[in-house]
């Protein structure tokens, strides 16, 4: 073993060791603050619902409320207006945690400046806010139960889920969409020139008559659709007539209710 065999070992600094500096006071203070915060965070969760959640659903709901029912009018500007959309949704989520009223006020004014029908949207916003208990909010129901497949734009997904915008099935005799939503649909169906092969689950067990009527009324008038409102009584009559039955097929629908 000569000097050349260990030149790297020879020139290096000693093995490291620890110094004796004491812990800075600010670190101790930080630890104390975090312990207090931890206890407070646990305590703050008492009584919170056991949703385990990341507040995703409440944000969506709040978003629906702060963005009035001007979907149809803002439909075309949607894709171009991406940045504004993002900004407003970011505001919404920060609201969720920090709750700053000025923030949401700013969002609203920004929106009303964007929209030509400012007065109309304010009206409908006030309406949808207060009607949550009395009336049914068809748009919110749609967003919760339908939009994951049929999309918020009502365009569906080509090849997988049929569009609702412009669908003749939806805009025909109200009994047809009631049957589909209440009892489900299975098998091949042709919508707007395309054939879909899929399955729609029955929602009769989850939605009340008024809710089915509300969501259908919304879908029948949104995205350029133009068909009559659906009343809860029609839904009740449908239930009387067919009771609880399995899914419909497109052929059965035509057979029972006639050509759409």
């Amino acid at each position: 073993m000569n000097e050349h065999d260990q030149r790297a070992q020879f020139r290096e600094a000693p093995e490291p060791e620890e110094g004796t500096r004491t812990t800075p006071k600010i670190v101790l203070a930080y630890i104390a603050i975090l312990i207090v915060w931890g206890v407070g965070y646990y305590a703050w969760q008492i009584g919170k619902p056991l949703q385990g959640g990341d507040s995703r659903t409440p944000v969506a709901a709040e978003h629906q409320q702060s963005q009035p029912a001007n979907v149809a009018s803002s439909d075309t500007s949607q894709s171009t207006d991406t940045s504004a959309e993002e900004a407003s949704s970011a505001d919404n989520s920060s609201e969720q945690s920090a709750t700053s009223p000025e923030n949401s006020a700013a969002t609203e004014t920004a929106e009303t400046e964007d929209t030509p029908s400012a007065a109309a949207s304010e009206d409908s916003e006030a309406g949808s806010g207060s009607t949550a208990s009395a009336n049914v909010d068809g748009e919110a129901l749609f967003s919760a139960h339908c939009s994951s497949c049929h999309q918020a734009t009502g365009q569906g997904i080509p090849g997988a889920f049929p569009p609702l915008a412009g669908s003749k099935w939806l805009q025909a005799d109200p009994n047809i969409p009631i049957a589909i939503v209440h009892d489900g649909l299975e098998g091949e169906i042709e919508v707007a020139g395309d054939t879909f092969q899929g399955m729609m689950p029955p929602l009769g067990g989850q939605l009340s008559d008024a809710e089915i009527a509300g969501v259908l009324s919304y879908a029948r008038s949104a995205w350029g659709n133009d068909a009559s409102e659906v009343s809860p009584d029609t839904v009740a009559k449908h239930k009387e007539r067919f009771g609880s039955r399995g899914s419909w097929s497109a052929d059965e629908l035509t057979e029972v209710f006639g050509e759409h």
Partner: protein, 538 residues
């Protein structure tokens, strides 16, 4: 959450935290007689203030004249020679898996914005190349390089020869066989189907075996140690080597955790691979390399204590923040969030220790490749950990969850922190094992700049793109395909960054092989970023 559960959580939290602070206080104040006075025993007389810095040429050389100095050199020499074969085996394998894993990462990244790329073969579809990338870089590169560096450092720290090095060599072979079989299995479609746990459990047995064969020499060496005080690096390395086998074994037990509990164990494991396996290895190496290159001690023993023990207490519960919003008990998620935030305690104490030691020595970053890689790694540890604590909070998680933001964060931790520190360590270790200097200093520069610019592009584009994606996903009126299209520039940026990183790895691997083949001059001087002032030829 009911008051009963909350009160139980609060009591547990307070008891464990206060208990831990008491333990640290007791150790720091010598209640167990393992305190600071014991720390001095590892310090050979007259060894202070010598370093590899050519700018310090006016200082007297460390000549090994005195018998104490001579014996210190002899101890290092003995330690390095004893671990030589084992370390070279583990490190060479790691470099191979780094290259393979990088290419699979690049293919995965290309597929994100060129979905038609390489789809003709089922073996190269996204669902298979992505797990191959993840497992190759985690268990191939990071774990093997980490074990290799640990095998090098532990004999040095204990001032003794590595006992039973041949067990570690055979462990490397078994580990490599496991990797080959596991990656082939994933490519053929035989996967356990859980992220970070894709290898079929039958193959996992090989890793348990290979790892255990590594633990034998390390435990034997620890039993033979010639020092009374254990330096902080050895705490981290020994702890990591104890924790990982336990985690890996429990998480891979077949048929034990069905359904939601399986998801809980999955993320408990996946995050602990980062926090209780690669993080202690990375921090431990930084704790060794920074004072080693600078030739001055780490500033505070007390901060080391707080940093180590709070990591040990808080980290294990952190992983469940990946399931915020998932079908598991709320109290578990809440516990995980609190502990994720508490993790800022070890992060800040370690940061003060590392960067406080660097204070006043930043000019040394111009010269030493090891110091530059390791210090940037340590800095990115601070950054990525604080970012991680923030991401666990529900209000931020709702935006960043399920987006590319998380991917950027993961690479900040695994690459900018861990891989940089491992690169630095390899630059330090190899000349000491081969008795040959790195052949070309410009290749080290090239490697450094390629991977640094690469990870910078990667991180910035995915962070920005991921945040925009997250806010857009919360907007129920935005069509999903618009959001996908919106992320395309970020994904292309990732491919550019990833390509630069892969290129850097090729340079690194080429240089590594050239060193093993003893190309270049094999200088008397260390290979630094700038030509050393004392170099006779210049």
């Amino acid at each position: 959450m009911t008051p009963t559960i909350a009160i139980l959580l609060i009591i547990t939290f307070l008891l464990s935290t206060v208990g831990l602070l008491l333990l640290i206080w007791s150790i720091a104040n010598n209640q167990f007689s393992y305190g600071q006075s014991a720390a001095r025993t590892i310090f050979s007389p007259g060894e202070e203030g010598h370093s590899e810095d050519p700018a310090l040429a006016d200082k007297p050389d460390f000549t090994g004249d005195t018998s104490a100095q001579a014996s210190a050199i002899k101890a290092r020499w003995t330690a390095d020679q004893s671990s030589r074969t084992a370390v070279l085996t583990w490190l060479s394998s790691a470099v191979f898996w780094l290259i393979l894993g990088s290419f699979f990462g690049l293919v995965t990244s290309l597929k994100m914005h060129l979905p038609e790329f390489l789809v003709s073969s089922e073996f190269l579809t996204f669902g298979r190349v992505r797990p191959v990338h993840l497992n190759a870089v985690t268990y191939g590169w990071a774990s093997m390089a980490g074990i290799g560096v640990a095998l090098f450092l532990i004999p040095r720290l204990f001032k003794t020869a590595l006992a039973g090095g041949k067990y570690a060599v055979s462990g490397a072979f078994i580990w490599n066989i496991g990797l080959v079989l596991g990656l082939v299995a994933i490519t053929l479609g035989y996967s356990d189907g859980e992220e970070w746990l894709e290898f079929p459990w039958q193959i996992d047995i090989l890793f348990v075996f290979g790892g255990a064969l590594c633990a034998i020499p390390l435990l034997l060496t620890a039993a033979n140690r010639q020092v009374e005080h254990l330096y902080v690096t050895s705490w981290y390395l020994m702890a990591a080597l104890v924790w990982f086998p336990i985690l890996f074994l429990i998480a891979n037990l077949p048929f034990t955790f069905p359904g939601a509990s399986g998801a809980t164990v999955n993320w408990w494991f996946a995050h602990n691979v980062l926090g209780l396996w690669v993080t202690p290895i990375g921090i431990g190496i930084a704790y060794y390399m920074i004072p080693k290159i600078l030739g001055r001690p780490i500033i505070s023993y007390q901060l080391s204590l707080i940093g180590f023990w709070s990591l040990a207490l808080f980290y294990s519960q952190v992983g469940i923040h990946h399931l915020v919003g998932g079908p598991i008990p709320t109290w578990l998620v809440t516990l995980s969030i609190v502990h994720s935030v508490m993790m800022s305690i070890p992060v800040i104490t370690v940061a003060i220790n590392h960067h406080g030691t660097m204070m006043g020595n930043f000019k040394r970053l111009k010269d030493s490749p090891t110091l530059r890689f390791v210090w940037i790694g340590a800095l990115m540890y601070t950054a990525s950990s604080l970012q991680g604590s923030m991401e666990a909070l529900r209000s931020i998680n709702v935006i960043t969850h399920f987006t590319h933001y998380t991917v950027a964060h993961a690479h900040l931790g695994m690459y900018a922190f861990l891989s940089f520190i491992l690169f630095g360590a390899v630059y330090f270790i190899m000349p000491r094992l081969t008795n040959w200097e790195w052949p070309w200093r410009r290749l080290i520069s090239l490697h450094f700049w390629l991977v640094s610019i690469g990870i910078l592009i990667y991180f910035v584009s995915l962070t920005v793109g991921g945040w925009l994606q997250g806010t857009a996903l919360l907007d129920a009126e935005m069509p999903f395909m618009d959001i996908v299209r919106m992320t395309l520039p970020a994904l292309e940026g990732r491919t550019i960054g990833g390509a630069l990183m892969t290129l850097g790895h090729i340079v690194f691997a080429f240089h590594f092989v050239a060193l093993l083949m003893r190309r270049g001059a094999g200088n008397e001087q260390p290979t630094l970023f700038r030509p050393a002032v004392k170099e006779p030829t210049q």
